[in-house]
């Protein structure tokens, strides 16, 4: 396999891990974020600083990066997740920009706007694949069970959810924490992939991109998020030679998807036997007899 292909595969899986994180929060819990680049930055910087300045092995560094992102997500979530709709979206922009500005101004630790070069390139294909498989397994397990149903309840009707006994603020914070952990891990792997990080890489445009791939794939579909990120990553690569048109096309795609297929590529269905059944069979046979009426 050529270096180029290998690089693309690694990038796909890193973006995939981040997309699953965003999908949990935005797609499954219904909290629209425009600031997830901050957690990517926290993961990247923690990994870079721990490996370069403190001589950590990359594995604990990446995991600590994810955990720190999770802790920040938890602390951020406690006061802000009571905000609804656009208020949270704008607040998340503010929080993410604050975190980026702190990184940019904390010269002694983060080297400021100039960034950190020379990070050990530990992110190889097998390592990324290992992380991807484990985290994808976790994400798919999570959505198929009690926590996934609780998230979806909060998303679809938070009043009904709390009147069905769910502590909705707690589930929203939980969702953000897990989401931040996924994105933090992706950030750590990303640092080890490109070996040079700078605060400007984690600006609002990055946050927008992270959320829009998930919307593109389908809100409420984990496999949709992966499909969305794969297509966008590949299209982005394809248009690299005409890079000035790349962002224009990207913007147009977003608008066109919203106009023609706002529910995203997969809607809220997962790729799997259920989707296949849905496509091939219209009427579901009755699993039991009718009730007493």
């Amino acid at each position: 396999m050529s270096n180029y292909t290998e690089g693309i595969l690694i990038l796909l899986m890193i973006n995939g891990i981040a997309a699953m994180g965003v999908s949990l929060l935005t797609g499954f819990t219904g909290i629209f974020t425009l600031g997830h680049a901050a957690y990517l930055a926290i993961g990247s910087y923690t990994t870079a600083i721990l490996t370069l300045d403190y001589g950590f092995h990359w594995l604990p560094a990446v995991i600590l990066g994810g955990l720190l992102a999770m802790i920040v997500g938890y602390l951020v979530g406690l006061p802000t997740l009571k905000l609804m709709g656009d208020y949270y979206a704008i607040a998340s922009i503010g929080l993410a920009e604050s975190i980026r500005l702190i990184i940019e101004n904390w010269q002694s630790v983060t080297n400021g706007a100039r960034g950190i070069p020379g990070i050990d390139t530990f992110t190889t294909l097998p390592i990324t694949a290992g992380f991807f498989v484990v985290m994808a397994y976790g994400a798919f397990c999570l959505i198929n069970g009690r926590i996934g149903r609780a998230f979806k309840a909060c998303r679809d009707d938070h009043v009904a959810a709390s009147l069905l006994g769910f502590n909705t603020p707690r589930y929203r914070v939980l969702s953000l924490s897990i989401s931040a952990f996924y994105v933090g891990i992706a950030g750590g792997l990303y640092a080890g992939f490109i070996s040079f990080i700078q605060p400007i890489m984690f600006d609002m445009l990055k946050s927008t991109e992270m959320t829009s791939v998930v919307v593109f794939g389908g809100l409420g579909s984990m496999s949709g998020a992966l499909l969305g990120t794969t297509i966008i990553t590949l299209v982005t690569e394809l248009f690299r030679p005409i890079s000035q048109y790349r962002m224009l096309i990207y913007g147009l795609v977003l608008v066109l998807v919203m106009v023609f297929r706002p529910e995203g590529l997969l809607g809220r269905h997962e790729v799997g036997p259920a989707l296949f059944r849905k496509l091939t069979r219209r009427v579901t046979p009755a699993p039991g007899e009718r009730g007493p009426l």
């Binding site: 629209f32 802000t80 609804m84 208020y87 927008t208 829009s212 962002m247 224009l248 919203m258």
Partner: protein
């Protein structure tokens, strides 16, 4: 003391420019209930129209300014017709509008990257920036005073339009309930076009002043994030709130820059946002969102 008064005037001047942008954004929000991220694009369009009419046609600022205002207004209407109308006619999910607006924002920005290039352009010296002595108390720039005056004139004009005209009344009615306004015989399509025209026009005024202050470049629209933050602090959909929020933000920025450090000003802005929302989740003047159970 001199510096303090000077920073207050600078703050009010910057805040008044934010107000022009924030009011348009809030106006659109009050009718359609979504955050129009393409609003920054309208500002950039206004800036570039002003730049090119001044440079290519050698006209004076009044003609160029008029062209910029009308041009940006029409582009805003066009954006609504092309990108938002098809979506709002199909669904009531405002999230789709928000994402389409992010797409439009990227599209507009990159059209200018491709057509005009990414470099920074200075507007010809059409707005005086000579120092003005304020009764011996402080010196400030004529530009700051002019932008303050312009903002007052345009916001006053908006106030007159909203309170004294038939369409102004219709817009205020639609801000309570767009659907009911439609049922009462208001032509909703035309009303939304007028709202977008006004929003684009006000953004262009802000755009011209911002391009004198910071020079003109395709990403200048990113500065609308500050105006969004101001509108959210004031309470989404509330026009007085948008003005108050903008002034608070302008003052906070300039006082931080004057007395602490200019690197911290953005951090102060975003902290202000987060603190306001923690204390008052729907902003200073926002309607308390209580759901009917």
């Amino acid at each position: 003391m001199g510096t303090f008064i000077q920073q207050i005037i600078n703050g009010l001047s910057l805040g008044s420019v934010y107000a022009l942008i924030a009011v348009g954004y809030s106006l659109v929000y009050s009718i359609l209930l979504f955050s129009n991220f393409a609003h920054g694009g309208f500002l950039v369009i206004g800036g570039y129209i002003c730049y090119y009419t001044l440079n290519l046609m050698g006209t004076n600022i009044w003609v160029a300014g008029f062209a910029a205002l009308v041009g940006a207004g029409f582009c805003a209407v066009l954006t609504e017709r092309l990108a938002y109308k098809p979506i709002r006619e199909r669904t009531s999910v405002t999230l789709y509008l928000l994402i389409a607006s992010m797409g439009m924002s990227i599209v507009i920005e990159n059209i200018f990257v491709i057509v005009a290039g990414g470099r920074f352009r200075a507007l010809p010296p059409v707005i005086p920036t000579t120092p003005v002595d304020l009764f011996g108390l402080a010196t400030t720039s004529a530009f700051d005073l002019l932008s303050l005056v312009a903002a007052v004139v345009f916001l006053g004009g908006l106030q007159l339009f909203l309170t004294r005209t038939k369409w102004g009344l219709a817009i205020r009615a639609a801000a309570y309930d767009l659907r009911v306004a439609g049922l009462m015989g208001v032509n909703v399509g035309r009303l939304i076009s007028i709202v977008f025209f006004v929003a684009g026009l006000l953004a262009a005024v802000g755009g011209i002043f911002l391009s004198v202050r910071y020079t003109l470049y395709p990403q200048l629209g990113m500065i609308t994030i500050k105006a969004f933050v101001a509108a959210v602090i004031g309470g989404l959909g509330s026009l007085p709130g948008a003005v108050v929020g903008s002034l608070i933000l302008g003052l906070a920025e300039m006082l931080t820059a004057g007395f602490l450090s200019s690197q911290l000003r953005d951090l102060v802005v975003f902290s202000l946002l987060v603190i306001t929302l923690i204390v008052r989740p729907s902003g200073l003047f926002g309607k308390d969102i209580k759901e009917k159970v």
